[in-house]
Amino acid sequence: MSQRRSTRLSLLVLSCFALVLGVSARAQAQSTIRVPGQRPPYSFELEPHLLLTPFEAPDGPSSDGYGLGVRGTIELAPDGFIPKLNDSVGIGFGLDWIHYDGLGGRGYCRRFEYTPQGVPVCVETSAHSSNYVFVPVVMQWNFWLHRQWSVFGEPGLALSHRSGDFGVVPVFAAGGRFHFNDSVALTMRIGYPSFSFGVSFLF
């Protein structure tokens, strides 16, 4: 990982810690984590988001990437896995587009031609940039900490597609929401293959 990427990642992680520390004192007084059911009522969450990733593309050298996407999460278990905690579980489906910059002229082969003897020769690479579409399917485990704050963990898998190829990549993320009201929240996610920052609409 380059120095530029490490710095960017460190700043992001520090910002998250600062955010969490900043709200924790006030949040303690109004905690809802031990009051199951005290949270915004909803059955579907729609979350358009911006994406940033410090990671390389799944199957080729690349620089970091950015993009857009949307996530839809259906609530499956309103009472979650732990009866005494205010948790809930849903299943999330998404569609994310990420553009990766090239890295020093290196990439994967976008198009092969063949010699008369059938030996493959690469004639076009992704050296300058590449675009991926991810279709993630995740389990979303929510913890409703406070009237305005919730956090979640998201393990899952994503189908990845780029020109001429499909693959499957693991998905894991930890995220948090700041709830403006019962219907709208700011949502941030840190994980792989990308970080996200978006708005959740709860229906």
Binding site: Y66, R106, C109, V119, V121, T125, S126, H128, V199
Partner: protein, 173 residues
């Protein structure tokens, strides 16, 4: 309605940010670009005149315009494609596939399989190879000091043997 507008606004903002971002480093004319270690890597040159090197990988390849040099060695599956006036070397590989334009100079050695399609006025040398198959789309010379070469000319006509382990399309030099 307000929610729909908010979603649309969000995507518009994101699109503007994406368009404004800058691209990363590139392999440019006159520069040396290199890939080594790992599973696979393919080097692309921005334009002409790159100096590309691929080594110690499972699959590696170089793609370039004109007047490039490329060296691929210690790779299982190596590929080199180039425009005109290129100098290519491929060595210590399981297979080496090459497509290049006119005035191409290819040296393929210490390799199991070397397979090339070269343009007019090109010269190929295959040394210490299990098999070397060259298809010339115009006039060319193929040097084959250790045997194992098959040379075909445009129209699938066989090449002329010029003696001293040398083949040619379009007449011996």
């Amino acid at each position: 309605m307000r929610r729909v507008l908010a979603v649309l606004g969000f995507f518009l903002l994101g699109s503007l940010c994406a368009l404004g971002c800058t691209s990363g480093d590139n392999c440019s004319s006159g520069q040396h670009c290199e890939c080594s270690e790992g599973d696979q890597c393919y080097l692309g040159c921005d334009d002409d005149g790159c100096d590309q090197s691929c080594h110690n990988m499972n699959r590696c390849g170089t793609v370039c315009g004109d007047d490039c040099s490329s060296n691929c060695h210690d790779v299982q599956q190596c590929s080199q494609s180039c425009g005109s006036g290129c100098g290519l070397e491929c060595a210590h590989t399981d297979s080496c596939g090459v497509i290049c334009g006119d005035n191409c100079r290819l040296n393929c050695h210490d390799t199991k399989q070397c397979s090339a399609e070269v343009g007019p006025n090109s010269e190929v040398t295959c040394q210490a190879v299990t098999s070397c198959t060259v298809f010339c789309t115009g006039s060319c010379v193929v040097n084959c000091p250790n045997k194992g070469c098959e040379v075909k000319c445009a129209g699938n006509t066989p090449a002329t043997e010029c003696g001293a382990d040398r083949f040619a399309c379009g007449g011996c030099p």
